[in-house]
Symmetry: C2
Subunit: 496 residues, 2 copies
């Protein structure tokens, strides 16, 4: 495959200067046009020529408007990165709509180096390639454009450079570099690199860039980026506004019909049971933290179903230092400039911590679907994206537990009225709550689809009967305890 980039292509100084002037103008203009579109772009600069890739990156800083470029060089994992799922650092570095991010090394470099050094087996390599294909897929599905450059230097050129460097000259000062070490193992490297390039081109192909002649290398790379920009800009305009609420057919019976709302727990029993479960939780949570288990609790449910109360009964049993409490509201303007999962990836805690989401990424298939804030293709795609997200969390040693707190319409109305009568709870009731109430059936349909499509064996939904708050609170804590107990028995290992 690399033969395609070993044809000795060169560019004369004069040709270079002509192309340079044209390219700079076109790149900067396209960059500006991109800003008023809603597409983000990633330029992934990787390859077997480390100084070459670095030089290409610098060239983009010279030829484009650096004020609107984001650059991330992916080196060895930091502690924060080691303690999170592999795609975490890429999600965090994802550019906002209208922006170009330059990723140096990116997801291609580490698996290549790790496999060559025997730190990664075949299975790990396959998994890494697969993960990054999925990351790219999510990025593209959200309108993102990827340009992938593989900067390739033929073997003979590598050898020349090595000889030069050993005399203390030339642009390669760190030939001893771990992640990009090539020269002494070129023949071993080439087939693995080819395989990587081939297998990570599922959605977006790699452009092989011959690096023998720096002028050709830079012009060719810039032309690929320009083509990428032009391809984004020539896309058909996407439907600018969400399409409004989709017609709903309510499933009969829905999953919620199976929830027994008549169950109650009397106050005395509740007190005893709650204290018991809280003590149990405290101990299990401490053991989970010791085992470096990441615990992710998701609370969804009808307005006034008692999410807040259930969460507080949980946190009271825990040390506030060990738990992140994340209330989720509508995305801010800033957050809307990213893939909708971006803000949730940012809140993934390190291994060994617990995080409680009060509402979550399921907003995409609940409120955003029902209210028409997301287009139909967007929320339909979300089920698979969410399953993928949660699978990555679970594969990285997380417990993912999801609760839907269920009450009926009458109970909801009672609670609204009750809140209105309690001065310090009044703020919890707004006109919006009454509006949401009118869409009850649409939400039932959305909840049904959500449970049907995202209750997986690794991250199941728990539908909690919450007409009786006491029973619901005890059930939630008990469920968390049971899950932790079971998981601790298996003592799962984090893969990374």
């Amino acid at each position: 495959m690399f033969e395609a980039a070993e044809t000795g292509q060169r560019l004369s100084k004069q040709d270079f200067e002509t192309r340079e002037a044209e390219l700079r103008l076109a790149l900067v203009n396209a960059q500006y046009d991109l800003q008023s579109s809603d597409a983000p772009m990633i330029v992934l600069i990787s390859g077997d020529d480390r100084p070459g890739a670095s030089a290409v990156l610098n060239r983009f800083h010279e030829w484009m408007d650096g004020r609107y470029l984001v650059t991330r060089a992916f080196g060895p994992l930091t502690e924060a990165e080691r303690l999170r799922p592999a795609p975490w650092r890429f999600w965090n570095a994802m550019p906002a709509r209208g922006r170009v991010a330059l990723f140096l090394g990116g997801w291609a470099q580490s698996p290549l180096a790790a496999r060559l050094e025997g730190r990664m087996d075949r299975e790990g390599f396959d998994r890494a390639v697969d993960l990054f294909n999925r990351f790219e897929e999510a990025f593209r599905a959200d309108g993102g454009e990827l340009v992938k450059l593989w900067i390739h230097l033929p073997k003979a050129e590598h050898e020349k450079r090595l000889a030069k460097a050993s005399k203390g000259r030339g642009e390669s000062w760190r030939v001893d570099d771990v992640d990009w070490r090539i020269c002494d193992t070129y023949d071993e490297m080439a087939p693995v690199a080819e395989e990587l390039v081939e297998r990570s081109a599922v959605g977006s192909p790699w452009h092989l860039v011959e690096a023998t002649d720096p002028r050709f290398r830079d012009v060719y790379s810039a032309e690929r980026v320009l083509a990428g920009l032009e391809s984004v800009l020539s896309r058909e305009e996407r439907e600018p506004e969400p399409s409004g609420p989709t017609p709903i057919s309510v499933p009969e019976p829905s999953v919620l019909d199976g929830v027994d709302l008549t169950r109650t727990l009397d106050p005395d029993e509740y007190k005893k049971e709650l204290a018991k479960q809280q003590r149990r939780l405290a101990k299990l949570a401490a053991r989970a933290a010791e085992a470096e288990m990441r615990v992710i609790l998701v609370f969804e449910g009808w307005d006034a179903a008692g999410k807040g109360g259930a969460i507080r009964r949980l946190t009271r049993a825990l040390d506030a230092r060990d738990v992140d409490l994340v209330p989720i509201a509508a995305p801010s303007e800033e957050e809307r400039r990213y893939h909708y999962l971006w803000r949730f990836w940012q809140r993934v805690p390190r291994a060994g911590r617990m995080v409680i989401f009060d509402r979550s990424w399921y907003g995409r298939v609940l409120v955003e679907r029902v209210e028409g804030f997301a287009r139909e293709d967007e929320w339909r795609r979300a089920y698979a994206e969410i399953n993928e997200f949660e699978r990555e969390l679970v594969d990285d040693g997380s417990i993912v537990l999801k609760f839907w707190l269920h009450i009926d319409r009458d109970e909801q109305l009672r609670r609204f009225r009750d809140r209105e009568r309690t001065p310090y709870k009044k703020y919890k009731i707004t006109d919006e709550d009454y509006r949401n109430r009118e869409r009850w059936d649409a939400y039932v349909a959305a909840v049904h689809d959500m449970v049907e499509r995202t209750s997986t064996s690794t991250a199941p939904w728990h539908l909690v009967a919450a007409n009786d708050k006491r029973a619901a609170r005890v059930e939630v804590i008990d469920t968390v305890c049971e899950t932790l107990k079971h998981a601790l028995k298996k003592k799962p290992k984090r893969r990374t």
Copy 2:
């Protein structure tokens, strides 16, 4: 001192319930009012009663609107935190205007624990206290309100709880906790804690909260927070809009008059010298990285003075993976919701990395001063705040190097015209550049004051004659090299 919180204060269940209802209503209302003000608030919950502090935090989540609370529990340092100056994690956690942040442990807990365990000497303790006083000062100067709660449990109560816990009962499950270990060393702890409380009350006093009776503890804590909120809300309205440009008197002569703009470097000499300095820089930068030195380069200068070109000559000598390039534009709406230094603290890299700021925090005393975007009291205060910021960086083992690229008015005009004639450089010239040009004298005055007040022995300004681009580029790299060489000779140690 702690006697004040050992008077056995209690609250009956009935009194508690009355106060609870009043407090919840008042807290939530005040919290909403705060949102439309421009003041951020930090509630620091610390003390010698760890489970008590944790319970107080949970109580605030119950009594306030959790959607607008930010909670941060400060435990042992993460790797990312260890590799940065001590105040970094607090700056990062700073709440936005209108928001309340709950800090558990905060800056009080670690020095206390470290000193008790002999991990920190007297000097380190003094320095820690001093740093946090300064952090608080910066926060308050920017309109922030601090409420500091020291949750105190008398010795006898500590002993009772320990006895209970050893039987496996009670709310304290982790009495073996390092940062808050108290019981076995109460008599040792008390005087150090008292000293800490006394010395860290320079600007904002601590409220000593007796924790013997949880009802009293929670109500008293909430009353202190409510008082803090009310004090913010009753403040006189600050001048809502910046006051417009301040009249300027141009110093005669100014520091810029001392820059010799006639110096030139001929093209051949330049080529040779540039290559030489770049090779030198590559080696020195690698050694600085090995020595865990953080290198911070700041570029300021007239429009079209050649900042971008000088920066590119620098980065070409470096591995793109080792350098963060940070172009600074006007703060976004999001960024304006924080102290102006917040966004720069976020970009402080870990030890061993280099970061290049293309424009910087000096915008506060340059463009924001000249254009009236900052009030006079704000930019006047900024000199001391900036010196403090840079001192914290230098004390943490950073090199801070600041360049002002100086050209004269005629040269600037020549370059504007030249850019307008070059198609791919045209985007670099806007009407704003011509407007800024008209304020030349005001900028001279601002630069003069800036150099006078912020060119410190540890972070000096370098005024670079840049009418000749070649000479300027070589001088910049040479200055970086000389500084690195000098610093590497001294082999400074990071204090933390």
